[in-house]
């Protein structure tokens, strides 16, 4: 059934098929007529039988059939006649499946009939046996099998044995491996509490699939199962991993716009003026249910309002890895005395991951000094144009005090109590799998083996970082990066995926400890105007990044240079709520919609997206995935008339409008993108009144 080349139909076959089409068309029009007029006579039903037996793909036919069955059942007198009506349907489906055993409509109809009352599920299993002999991978049959076994209440253990037999027969069977994972999930869930039970099961499964991987490393079905096992091994409850301000940090907001001797970047300045203070919680995976009821914030001068937690996620689901709230300080709170804030996450159940696992309870606390509420001093200083020229940056790694600086800025720090402890078992399992993977690769050069090794090493690093933070021992980032570089050459078809994975690994490596991060930290000082206060800039430019990750370690970043990478998307940036200056120039962003995460960066003032590919591709596939007026996710409240007077059509620039309308940009570089023209520039000025510089031009 698989790997057979399709043959071009011969002349006779073509003629036969067009002849068949004529006949089917005739039957179809008859059936539609019956359907419309609700005719369920025997003749009418017979026509539908004829049609469906030769063309099971005709979905309307199946709907008509269901209506007619319902009609017949209503007038059925006894259980015998009910049974014969149902049997007739089962017979029809069987014949239809003989015509095409991958017909969705037919399989669905069978399920529907069985839901009406079934006499013999054994017969169904026999039928399935036939279809699975014909094609052991037919996922329709497997799907139906799960339906029948649930109906028949066949124990999972027995079905597990069935998958074992099928896999023994031929292990290139994605459906069998998949069914196995479904059954084992049930079994492991049922054996709740018995933790060693799960460990034993997974241990045996690793061994089982290992045989397949070694026997034929080029067959991917086993590797997919292996990946599932790896997820099961690493699976753990969601957990708060970082926050801003970080645990134990001591943040002083001073009156003159400085933060601990550093220039107070606009976000804090602006927000301290508004007497709002951002708090960001970052989890190890996307969670939902973060609210004032699941997270308590204890704070001396807390205004007492219920805090509103906002998910920082570009997609509109309720799940997000990072959550944001603002702490309000009442006006009367203006003391230099530090006062402490304690946050308890998940003290009551309610925060859950996508897989439904509940978040475990964690705490974080920090202290804040709030400035006097003095509007005079809190005046925003005159903004100079930010220039990302090389000479404006000075490496900071040479200056030892900067380490302290990073800490004071709340650089990644998670307290011990928040640290997820990796179980010895998962550690051992990963170790074993890494060893086996290396053994296999030493004998066979196989791409999916390499990919798996890279994934295993990443998992290993994650576990290591849980148990021993900032300890460079046995960290394999260089090996992972080398593996992905290798894969890019070996398998150029999946280049984009490997580039993304490479980027994630690289970012993980860069953010794994303070020393490595320091190498990318620079001091920004406008050379032409030395009077301006210097700022700390994280420069991750020219690293071939195509995707962003490890953002939970960069919550403190206010100035970020991501230029000269290969970024196609900026997903993840939404967590960096302090970000004020962002350079995305010379990347591969090909639409405004790809910039959607930036919408959530309320503090962003300077943005450079010059020399990207916005407008270069006539087809923008991301348009259909992001929020757009076309899918009614946004735009209901947009006033399309508003711009009509200026001769600008919102319809032409809705994607730019979507991204920029809520931003308070002061400076924007957009040149070097095919989309740019005078009309767009005028439109941008219009929607961002605060904009002072556009492509270096000062506006009036």
């Amino acid at each position: 059934m698989h790997g057979r080349p399709r043959k071009a139909p011969t002349q006779e076959e073509q003629e036969a098929s067009s002849l068949k089409a004529v006949k089917l068309r005739e039957l179809q029009s008859q059936l539609l007529n019956f359907h419309r007029n609700k005719i369920y006579t025997k003749e009418a039903v017979d026509i539908s039988t004829k049609l469906l037996e030769s063309n099971p793909e005709y979905y309307t036919g199946w709907n008509y059939r269901k209506l007619s069955v319902q009609n017949l059942l209503e007038s059925a007198l006894d259980s015998d006649s009910v049974q014969s009506i149902l049997d007739e349907e089962l017979r029809l489906v069987e014949n239809a499946l003989k015509q095409n055993f991958k017909s969705y409509g037919a399989w669905h109809h069978r399920k529907w009939i069985l839901s009406k009352g079934h006499s013999s599920t054994d017969k169904e299993l026999r039928l399935l046996g036939k279809f699975q002999k014909l094609d052991a991978r037919n996922f329709h049959a497997w799907n139906y099998r799960r339906f029948i076994t649930a109906l028949k209440e066949i124990p999972d253990e027995k079905e597990l044995q069935y998958t074992t037999d099928m896999i023994y027969d031929n292990f290139s069977n994605y459906s069998a491996w998949h069914n196995r994972s479904v059954l084992l999930s049930h079994l492991m869930e049922a054996r709740e509490g018995g933790h060693s039970g799960k460990e034993n099961v997974l241990g045996e499964e690793f061994e089982f699939v290992r045989s397949a991987l070694f026997t034929d490393p080029d067959d991917q079905s086993g590797w997919f199962y292996h990946l599932w096992l790896l997820y099961q091994t690493l699976k753990r409850e969601p957990l708060l991993i970082t926050s801003w301000p970080s645990t134990g940090s001591n943040i002083q907001l001073s009156v003159n716009g400085y933060l601990d001797g550093q220039s107070l970047l606009p976000v804090l300045h602006f927000q301290s003026k508004a007497r709002k203070y951002p708090i960001i919680l970052c989890f190890n995976e996307a969670v939902e249910g973060v609210s004032s009821s699941t997270v308590t914030v204890e704070c001396e001068y807390h205004a007492g309002d219920d805090l509103i937690w906002i998910p920082l996620s570009a997609n509109k689901l309720d799940f997000a890895q990072a959550w944001l709230t603002y702490l309000n300080f009442p006006d009367e709170v203006n003391s230099l005395k530090p006062y402490s804030v304690k946050i308890t996450v998940a003290h009551v159940p309610g925060i859950t991951s996508l897989s439904g696992a509940p978040c475990s309870t964690t705490h974080t606390s920090f202290t804040v000094c709030v400035p006097l509420n003095d509007l005079k001093h809190a005046e925003v200083q005159t903004m100079e144009r930010i220039s990302w020229k090389e000479e404006n940056f000075r490496a900071r790694a040479t200056q030892p005090q900067d380490a302290n600086l990073l800490h004071s800025l709340g650089y990644l720090k998670i307290t011990m109590e928040n640290k997820p402890s990796a179980s010895d078992w998962s550690m051992e399992t990963i170790f074993t799998e890494i060893a086996h993977c290396r053994e296999l690769l030493s004998a066979t050069n196989c791409k999916i083996g390499k990919l798996t090794l890279a994934r295993l090493l990443m998992a290993h690093n994650t576990l290591i970082s849980y148990s021993r933070p900032n300890d460079g021992a046995e960290i394999h980032y260089d090996e992972i990066l080398a593996l992905y570089r290798d894969l890019m050459k070996m398998d150029p078809k999946h280049l984009c995926y490997y580039e993304d994975e490479y980027s994630l690994a690289l970012l993980k490596q860069l953010t794994s400890n303070t020393e490595s991060l320091l190498k990318y930290s620079y001091e920004y000082q406008e050379s032409t105007s030395p009077s301006m206060k210097s700022s700390l800039c994280l420069r991750l430019n020219g690293l071939s990044l195509s995707r962003l990750g490890s953002m939970e370690c960069l919550l403190w970043v206010q100035m970020l240079d991501l230029s000269h990478n290969k970024l196609r998307s900026v997903e993840g940036l939404e967590a960096l709520q302090l970000l004020s200056y962002l350079n995305l120039s010379n990347n591969k962003i090909c639409s405004f919609t790809a910039l959607e995460p930036i919408r959530m960066l309320k503090a962003l003032q300077v943005l450079d997206v010059s020399y990207n590919e916005i407008g270069a591709h006539s087809v923008d596939s991301s348009r259909y995935l992001c929020s757009s007026p076309m899918n009614h996710a946004v735009g209901n409240d947009w006033n399309f008339e508003e711009f009509a007077n200026g001769g600008i059509k919102l319809n032409d620039h809705w994607d730019a409008f979507l991204v920029f309308k809520d931003l308070n940009l002061i400076q924007l570089e957009i040149m070097g993108n095919p989309v740019v023209n005078d009309q767009l520039k005028a439109f941008l000025f219009k929607i961002m009144p605060a904009l002072k510089w556009l492509d270096g031009e000062k506006c009036n």
């Binding site: 023994y168 027969d169 031929n170 290992r210 397949a212 070694f214 026997t215 034929d216 490393p217 004998a443």
Partner: protein
Amino acid sequence: MDETASYPPIEPSNFDLIVIGTGLPESILASAASATGKNVLHLDPNPFYGTLYSSLPLNELTSFLRSQSQPLTPENDESTPQLLTLPLYSSIEINSLSLEPIENSRKLNLDLSGPRVLLCSDSMIDLILKTGINQYMEFKSVDASFVGDAEGNLGSVPDSRSAIFKDRSLSLTEKNQLMKLFKLVQGHIGKESGEDDLISEEDLESPFVEFLNKFGLSQKLKSIILYAIVLADHDQDNLENCKDVINTKSGIDHLALYHSSIGRFPNANGPMIYPIYGQGELPQAFCRRAAVKGCIYKNGLDSFNETFETPFGLGLDVRFVVFKKLRCDLGWVLRMPVAALLMDKDGLTYKGVKLVSGQELFSNQLILAPCFMIPSRLTPAAQVANSYDVGRRDAKEKVARGICIAKSSVKPEAANCLVFFPPKSLYPEQKTTVRVLQLSGNVAACPSGMFVTYLSAMCDNAVEGKKLLDAAISALFSLPICGNSENNGIEKLSEHTDSKPILLWSALYIQELTMFQDSFNSISFTPLPDEHLHYNYLLDATEKLYQKIYPNEEFLTQTNLPEEPVDDDSSELD
């Protein structure tokens, strides 16, 4: 010779070809010749089909073995050389170890030249399908293959992708290497002409064992491939003293044949199949085809139609009716002992044969089974063997064969299975592979609940041959201790030998592989049963012989036999 009178006279008395003996080569040749319109008379002195390739009940087997082990004393009649029996078997040793006689011993179908199976993609199967005789036969697949050692531990033979996956005794690296080799072979065989060779010409000419070494295979895997899949007889690790070094090309060809045999027929789960009722069915099927094609019926031999009832139109029980029938009159072949050859006056040119009934029949050509002998004469001796590579064969080599009967299987989960004991696996001096085929009641080799086991090994002499087979038998079976304290003995035995089957009966004999016969024009001897597990070489030799006799005729072309009722829907070659 009371029977003599019952032989009807044969009319006419001139034929293109007379074939004496119904062994597989004789039957194929008769079938091939009659298919091209030759006027063929097929005779057999024995009351059963198959001659040296027959499947017989226990007592008939032993008496046939004995009858073929001693030459008859020739009478001195110069003008009509007597047709004598050549001693093919020697050192016959029959052991009845059970106190009770074997029940239903008539229900046993014991192969005379076992162990032998068919590979689903081999040339014999192709011939069976081509000639259509599959409609006369049924097959069952051999469940599994094992490699054994002196203790009787039987390790599985991971011969396919799923078998490698399932195997628990292989290390992960071994699994990887073995599958890689299999893939390489498939790639090499399947490559289009013009593509780069996956295996260099130089490698193809080198010994296969060296190629496997280069591949980095473990000793265990090498042994499995060489002796259980490529079916090597001689110790390939000892290249200097090895009598038959398998080169990479033939090793790979055999591996490819083995793999293409897996899954050829949906009902056969392994690469090998065995004919139900024994290998004697094969010659019988060819005889039947020969009859259909006109052998002996041709040219107005109408009177024979009454004597030799045609099998057509007998319902579903055809096989059984026929099977019983041939014991009395051999359905399609004339059961007729031949007394002597008729020679020209010079005593060197063949003219015809003289039957025991005294009738004289004449033909242009005579084909004789190799168990017959023409008394020595002035003519130079010709070597008769399965003519595959006659030159290379060591004339001293023989094959030791054994048949064992037990009431349980050597491997409980397998009813029909093969066991290979590679060289040195039984004892350090073991030079050749011992091959074992166990069959159960489901192939009608024996009544259900019983198991028949065939063994064979190449040897230079009877002592060596017996030693090889004895070692394999004691590795597989436990021998009942006879004596007064019989019950105690058996109890003790079962404690010590776990679940090894108890040997009830055995027969060991040494069969010649090479014969020297006088060569006459117009008289040909068919090949002897060879030492191999399959029929490929035998078939090659038979075809060569046919080409020699009829250089301008085609050898069994594709033909359709008249429709006959198909015996059973489980027939696997449909």
